[in-house]
Symmetry: D2
Subunit: 382 residues, 4 copies
């Protein structure tokens, strides 16, 4: 199937590049873009010592999926080189991304970034397509937009899981406060990342910088977009992040305080008048916006709600639907804050490379006539 598609669309697929292609997230981009119906990876860039090598020789490939054939013999370029691809995925570490991403946008590239560098900038959209695709409009405020370039970002991996679950609740009831304790997978730290001597049979109750991202990014993601501006919502968030010996999948234990606007006079559970059933209904009935459904990476089910007492579990459910759906379970009315739930997100797919690719698809679809007119038949097929 993939081979057929690839051949069919060879002439018209959009050429893309990957910056930071040898790192953990970069490898995930390489893996997920294998056989992508719209995008064709033509450029791989990495830090100096990989430059000029074949990708297969430059990378310490550690995924359990074999290195895709298409990438094996591509020659790795420097991130300081000029790129031909209109779309560049950035899997760069923040300290490198800081200096490079805006510059590439100025050169006319669309930088679809997983780095944290520009996430909170006022003119940069921070997007999960099912949640806030309208924020894409921010890019028109970027100085580089006139030359056809801009930066768009996706959130921190744990933030993605949290916000996917909060969005339906915020739409239905309003969320006032969030308390989240995360149990995060090893792959979130990259490779080599955490030492096995620290991880095995242990929990590390701290992840540097993570709690801050988890506390600040949701307000922007859930904010309203109006005329080139995003108004963040007012939500108090307390986060504590733990590293646990799990390969893939961040599990979030979330408590939410719902706002009063939906409370009735006789409010029972959590004094909101809402029941577990109300909360579950809000999650299950949330619909992926129409224009997002046609993106190749959009999963059929956005949120999978479990009723089993001990689900979701990282090792068992992280791969459902290819890693793009977010799983929710253990919805309960509780006496502190209003409701508790457990959320599971595939941190390197939905929480990183998968979300970025979906963002790129959103960009391609939105700017199909502007920047990608040569690939028109792709979108018809898609």
């Amino acid at each position: 199937m993939k081979n057929v598609e690839r051949r069919m669309s060879k002439t018209s697929r959009i050429r893309v590049g990957i910056l930071g292609a040898t790192g953990a997230v970069g490898q995930k981009f390489v893996e997920l873009l294998d056989g992508h119906p719209w995008f064709e990876v033509r450029e791989l860039a990495a830090s100096g010592r990989s430059e000029g090598k074949r990708y297969r020789d430059a990378v310490n490939w550690f995924s359990d999926v074999p290195l895709p054939d298409y990438a094996a013999d591509l020659i790795v370029s420097s991130i300081d080189d000029e790129f031909e691809s209109k779309i560049l995925f950035s899997a760069l570490p923040a300290e490198v991304a800081d200096a490079v991403e805006r510059k590439l946008a100025d050169q006319g590239h669309i930088v679809v970034s997983n780095a944290r560098s520009n996430r909170m900038a006022e003119d940069v959209p921070l997007v999960i397509p099912e949640v806030n695709s309208e924020h894409l409009g921010l890019v028109t405020r970027q100085a580089s937009f006139s030359s056809g370039g801009f930066v768009i970002t996706n959130p921190n991996c744990a933030t993605v899981g949290l916000v996917c679950a909060l969005k339906p609740l915020h739409d239905a009831f309003g969320v006032e406060a969030v308390q989240v304790t995360s149990l995060q997978a090893l792959s979130g730290a990259g490779h080599p990342g955490v030492s096995a001597l620290d991880a095995l049979g242990n929990v590390i109750p701290f992840i540097d910088g993570e709690e801050e991202k988890l506390s600040t990014e949701p307000a922007k993601l859930l904010g309203s977009y109006d005329n080139g501006r995003v108004m963040p919502v007012q939500i108090a968030i307390s986060a504590q992040c733990n590293r646990v010996p799990v390969v893939d999948g961040h599990l979030l234990c979330v408590s939410v305080k719902l706002s009063t606007r939906s409370r009735d006079a006789a409010g029972t559970a959590g004094s909101t008048g809402l029941t577990v059933k109300d909360v579950r209904n809000a999650l299950e009935s949330f619909e992926t916006p129409y224009e997002i459904r046609s993106l190749p990476s959009t999963p059929e089910t956005f949120l999978r709600v479990f009723e089993e007492a001990a689900f979701p579990q990282p090792r068992k459910h992280v791969g459902l639907g290819g890693g793009m759906p977010v799983s929710v379970g253990r919805i309960r009315a509780v006496p502190v804050l209003d409701f508790r739930l457990v959320v599971l997100v595939h941190n390197t797919v939905r929480g990183a490379a998968g979300c970025a690719i979906q963002n790129a698809e959103l960009v391609a679809q939105t700017f199909r006539d502007t920047f990608f007119a040569g690939s028109a038949e792709l979108f018809a097929a898609g």
Copy 2:
């Protein structure tokens, strides 16, 4: 050293028995009572199929500490037998404990139980010696007390950790609400307990019955004792319990809302006016009550407060001080509820057998003249 002590006190140590001696908690009793200065294990009882066997043949010993010599050749009796020992430690499953513990008290035994069966009964003390030793007075209300028998219990393993950390905060500031997410060790489920196929590289976000215990027991433990009654405190608690692939050590991610009685007008952090330093001081300055310090199992340090960003960690710190100290770290002022902290408790030592043994020591010291007059010189030495 141990050998010397054992020899010295041979004639006078208090004889004790262990009920449920072949199970996981029972084995921990056997291990921790090896060479105990006050107690000498003389009776081991277990379910029917072990009866009449030598302990070494009846038990599937799985600790990493070798089976103590003293226990190896003891013949296992039935829990339906009559016992000679005044003090009986109960490591029975709740469904067995239900029927047996009160009956044994009626026969004049002091039952020091780790089972949940009688914990919440109005006339049964639920005790952590450093926290609420005065609750021991409840035993005089038990009908069996007139015949010299009674039941005393220790809390659920996760509750012990939580309450040890809450006690100093409640004394200093008052605690109004608690939100706790636990990451609990495999040994808490006994042996064989959790299947390796479920545990390895995974998190199970549910432990049957655990959240209820963690939500209800603290109110009794922190309650005030007056004239044969315990008045529970009013604390709202929301708990979510996860099983993680760790051998020993429950890690608790705790948020506390402090009561207003210590808030000043200009209250800053968490609007309580309290700082992280205030909270740390309360924890570090908490003193083990004088009469508890002389108990052999009382640790030198009740709470160990870490300042390192990523401590405490189960595998690295669970064994500190032999497992009786409770570790605390990551104290932070947060925008939801007032403060966060991370608590680590050794679930099978401080959280189970160790706490029960310390309770028995409290009983022995309290009733030294009544029930244990023959062992007077022990306490002098102690």
Copy 3:
């Protein structure tokens, strides 16, 4: 795709049943037979307490692949019932299989068994299709064959891996002696199987009964078939089996002593005159027999030979090609015995349910005109 296939072949697929359908191997059959082009599962049987329940209610489904829709509402029957399906897969424990399998064959069923009960019987084929499909002829010696029924078995999970690697070496050079130390996955013990408290961060250097199977089954598998008899080969085998904390994938550290018939006078490495390259060539050039290639479960690559120093690894490579290929690496000439190699087999796929299904395919193809004439178009399509 699967749905299409299923619909197309609905009228003609061969109906099959699964005995022991709720156990670990039974679940793997249910999973692997989802959408199978030739077989349609119509009957699920299990022990008494599951009888009469819907499969979804009877099973504790623990795979990370969701329970297939086709099976969810099938009513579980008793293994003592009568069955309509010609082919019955047996995932029964040996003690049950002992009594049942021959009886079902007498009733005219083809029993494709993963149980060890009949593996070594003189009239029962023990088959890995790529290795010894001609052994199928043994079934004509079974008394039940006249009534259209017989038993065919696949080897122990570790044996499968070992023999797949030995077969090309035995064909090319002759194997005289084998020394194998296995590092076996948890899933080999079923569910719940090994206690997490025993497995985590540990190795258990013993698996009950495993070393005997690994020492005896290869001689039959590599034996020559002639006129209704299998002559076992003479190979001395020493096995030691360890359980390691890995979910899926048995890793075998194998040493082989090659026979003299290929040694030349000046024999260098291991005094066989053979080089690592010779051994690798033998493995890489081994061809799946022509008539086996068309079976739906036959993998494109039978043996995958790695040259990377630290490959194959269970977690990274066990799933290659869906779990049916066997991986080999670290081929070395050594001073004790002649050559060393490392073999990785997916123990529940190639080593159990997958091998049994492939055996059933071999049976269906072989007896297409005799027993499965009604499904003729399947094989054409296949």
Copy 4:
């Protein structure tokens, strides 16, 4: 106790230094030398960036035993400095040890090294005290000996376990060939060492350089010493080393071919005429040489032989006797080579720092009158 001893011997304990004190093995030296009756650590040296810092600030202490008080405030010196201590423990990486150890010996220091650099040098003893203490005589051949300095080494961590088990068998029966497959713990790779993403739920079937050490060092260790020379024994060894997710403890699956000198005419098991009982007797009756028993680090039991089917296990038995005894189990007569057994060694204690400290004790006792006359009363007490 420790405090008492320390005070008693304060004036006379031998001052020692540790080179490479901040690394994994260096930390183990710091830990094991806490309260040592003969040695007092006075100097800690490490690579450039630690120089001048207090040890507590320079080290990333990762042991589960707290950093000893005695070391916390010692100032870390450079390994290029001059040292006052007569005995210097070397926990240096080989590439640093290469250049430094002989030079320090020339300056009159006794370098007790865990590095591999000088292990196989003809004039350097490679010693496990219970096995070949007489090899210490080699030091007199070192050019530096005239100035009072020399180098003594201990073997690779896996080699130590292997040779401790082989020694009694070689003495009793002669060993002709050895086949060993190791399952090695993470701590053998130091810290950070292996990435958790590679180790969790996985086996890595290769450890760089390990198989060579395991294949070559035993011949020297078991060799005979005569007049300043060691004659290596002729033993063919084939080794394959795997990394498994275990914290401490290398498990070795060993096969041995015994030499003919003990075979009788009617030889049964393995055609040696020897039984499992003979082999077990040889292991159990092996006696620690008289002069080694008084060394403080010599364990009461050199080899602990298990009869339980599934023992020894790393997590459960690695810490027995403080980590200095070596455990053996699963002794079996097998059809390839003669006997199989499983060996467990604590890789960082008996296999590294503990063995080096015991070597230093051997040196101190041997040269008590030459180099350590000022500490005479130590040895009397010891």
